[in-house]
C-alpha cells in the first residue's frame, strides 16, 4: 500500500520546466478551475464587497455609504463578543482535538486487531451531517428529557437547577465538547494516515542506537509529522472559527448572546434583521483576517516547515 512513498527518495517534488514552446500548457490545465472559481466564488465575493459598501436593509441596495457598515460593525459590542466567543471556541476545541487526535493516531498505529473495522466506525462522528450531530446532542443533553441530562447530570445533581444548553456558563463549553466529539476522529484519521506514510529508515537507525519510545517520538516522529500537523491544524482552525450548524441547532447563539459565534451573528443579521450590508461587511472582515493570517502562515510554513 505504500509503494509510492517508499520508492520515492526524500526530497522529490521537483518541478518540471514547461517546454518553451508550450509555456501556456500549465495555464490551460488550471484554466477550468480558475474560471469555475471565478464564477462561483469571486463574483459572489465581489458582490458581497459591493453590498458591504451600500445601505442594503432588506436586501434592497439603496445608496453608497462607504465604510459606514464597517464602522457600525466595529463599534458594535456584539461583533466583538462574537469574535471573543469564536476565539475561546477555537482556542479550546482545536488544541484538544489536536492532542486527542494525535494520541489516538499513535494508539491506532499499534498492532490493533480489526483495525479496518474500527477505523470507519471511529470516523462516524465526522461523517455525520452537522445538523444531525446537533440533533443527536440535543437528544443527549436537552434539559430534563435528554438522555445524559436525565441519567447522569440530574441523577447525580451535577449542575443544579439548570440544563447544559440553558446555562450561560455551560452552554459554550458544551458546544466545544460537541465540536471535539465531532472532529477529533478527523484529526485522528489524518494523523494516523501520516504515521502510516512515514519512512522506516530513521526508526531502524534509532533502534540500533537504542533510543527509547519517548526519544523516538520527539526526535523522529514529531519532526517528520510536523508539516501534516500544521496543514490539518490550519484547516481545522479556519473551519472551527466558522462553526455554524451545531450551534444553530443546539443553542441558536443563546442563552443571551453567550454562544453567538460570528457565523450565528451573520445569520441573524441576514435572515432576521435583513441587514445585508452589515452582514456582508462581517463576511469581508472575517475574510480579510483569514487571508492575512493564511498569507503569513503560508510564507512561514513554506520556508520553515516545508509544509505546503
Amino acid at each position: 500500500m505504500t509503494t509510492v512513498s517508499d520508492a520515492v527518495p526524500v526530497d522529490m517534488h521537483g518541478a518540471l520546466p514547461a517546454p518553451r514552446e508550450r509555456f501556456w500548457y500549465p495555464y490551460l490545465l488550471i484554466a477550468p478551475s480558475m474560471i469555475t472559481l471565478t464564477v462561483v466564488s469571486l463574483i459572489p465575493f465581489i458582490y458581497t464587497v459591493y453590498l458591504s459598501l451600500h445601505a442594503a436593509k432588506f436586501g434592497r441596495v439603496t445608496e453608497f455609504i462607504g465604510v459606514d457598515n464597517y464602522i457600525q460593525l466595529l463599534t458594535d459590542g456584539r461583533f466583538w463578543n462574537s469574535i471573543g466567543i469564536a476565539l475561546v471556541f477555537v482556542g479550546i476545541a482545536v488544541p484538544i482535538e489536536f492532542m486527542l487526535g494525535l494520541a489516538g493516531a499513535l494508539v491506532l498505529n499499534q498492532q490493533i486487531r480489526g483495525r479496518s473495522i474500527l477505523i470507519p466506525l471511529l470516523f462516524m462522528p465526522t461523517m455525520m451531517a452537522p445538523i444531525v450531530v446537533g440533533l443527536l446532542w440535543k437528544i443527549m443533553l436537552a434539559g430534563s428529557w435528554g438522555f445524559i441530562s436525565y441519567n447522569v447530570l440530574e441523577r447525580f445533581h451535577l449542575i443544579g437547577q439548570t440544563s447544559v444548553f440553558a446555562s450561560p456558563d455551560l452552554a459554550l463549553y458544551a458546544l466545544i465538547f460537541v465540536d471535539i466529539w465531532q472532529w477529533t476522529p478527523f484529526m485522528m484519521l489524518a494523523f494516523f494516515a501520516g504515521l502510516q506514510a512515514l519512512p522506516l529508515g530513521p526508526y531502524r537507525a534509532a533502534a540500533v542506537d537504542g533510543a527509547n519510545g519517548v526519544q523516538i517520538f520527539f526526535n523522529i516522529t514529531l519532526p517528520m509529522l510536523t508539516p501534516l500537523l500544521v496543514v490539518i491544524g490550519l484547516l481545522r482552525f479556519i473551519d472551527a472559527f466558522k462553526v455554524f450548524d451545531t450551534v444553530f441547532v443546539l443553542t441558536g447563539g443563546g442563552p443571551g448572546i453567550a454562544t453567538e459565534t460570528p457565523s450565528i451573528l451573520a445569520n441573524k443579521m441576514t435572515f432576521e434583521f435583513w441587514n445585508i450590508g452589515e452582514a456582508s461587511a462581517l463576511a469581508v472582515l472575517v475574510w480579510i483576517a483569514f487571508f492575512a493570517f493564511c498569507n503569513i502562515f503560508y510564507q512561514v510554513a513554506k520556508k520553515r516547515l516545508n509544509a505546503f
Binding site: 526508526y203 450548524d245 441576514t270
Partner: protein
Amino acid sequence: MSDVSNTKGTTGGLIWTGTVVAYAAVVLFPIFWMALMMFMPNDAMFARPTVWTFTPTLAHFEYVIEQGFYWNLVTSFLLCLVSTALVVVIGTPAAYAFARFEMKLKDDLFLFILATRMAPPVCLVIPFYFIFAKVGLLDTFAGLTLAYMTFNLSFYVWVLRSFCRDLPVELEEAAALEGWSRAQIFRRVVFPLLRNGIVATAVLCFIFAWNEFLFAFMLGGETVQTLPVSIPKLITSQGVRWGEMAVVGITALLPVLTAVFILQRHIVRGLTLGAVKG
C-alpha cells in the same frame, strides 16, 4: 512499513485493541442510542426513567417511506455524485499543474484558490440567492451543483496538489524521452499513481456536499431538496418526530460509512495530503 513502533508482543496489541474498543464504545454511544431510536415506540423514546427494553416498531420507517424521503435520498445522491465528479474532472489538471510546473504568479493564484474557502458560508448565501434569483438558478440541479463548487473545488485542488508533489518526476521524464505527449503521460503515468489521492479527496468532497445544509436549504426548494434539508420537516406542531429523525439521520450516515469502509485504504493514504516529507 506500518506498525513501526510495535516492539511489544501480541499481548501489547491486545491491550491497545481493548483500549480502542473501549474508547469507541464510549464515544459512539450517542450514535448507538440514535440507532435504537429508529425502532423505539414513541412512548418509550424519552420516558423518565429511561426505558432500556422495548418492543421494536417499524412505524418510523413507515412514516419516512410514506412521506417520500427516499426521493430526498436520491436527489442528494445524484447531486453529490455529479458535483463531486465535476470537481474531479476540473480540479485534477489544476492540482497537477500547480504541483508540477513553473508559472508566473503561481503562489498568488494558489492562494486565490485557498482564499475562496475563507469567508463564512452564511454570509455568501444571500449574494448567491440574489444572483441565482436573477438568472433563474434557484431550486435547480445545476444551481446547487455550481454552489457546491465554492467549497469543494478549492479544497480538492489544495489537497490533491500536495499529493501530486509526491509523485516521482523521473517516470514522467522517462516517458517524455520516449516521445509521449503530455496527454499520454498524464493518462498513463500520472493518473494511475494519483488514484489513491483522487479517491480519498473525492470521498471527502462527497461527504462535505452530502452533509451540507445552508446552501441546500436556501438555494434548493421543492424540486431539489436534499436529505439534510428534509430533516426540519420532522419538527412539526405535534412535537418533533424523533424516531423518524433518527431514521433519516442514520440512513444519511450509511452510504458514507459504506464508502469509507470500502475505500479506507485509499483514504488513509490520501489523507496524508502528501504533506509528510522525511
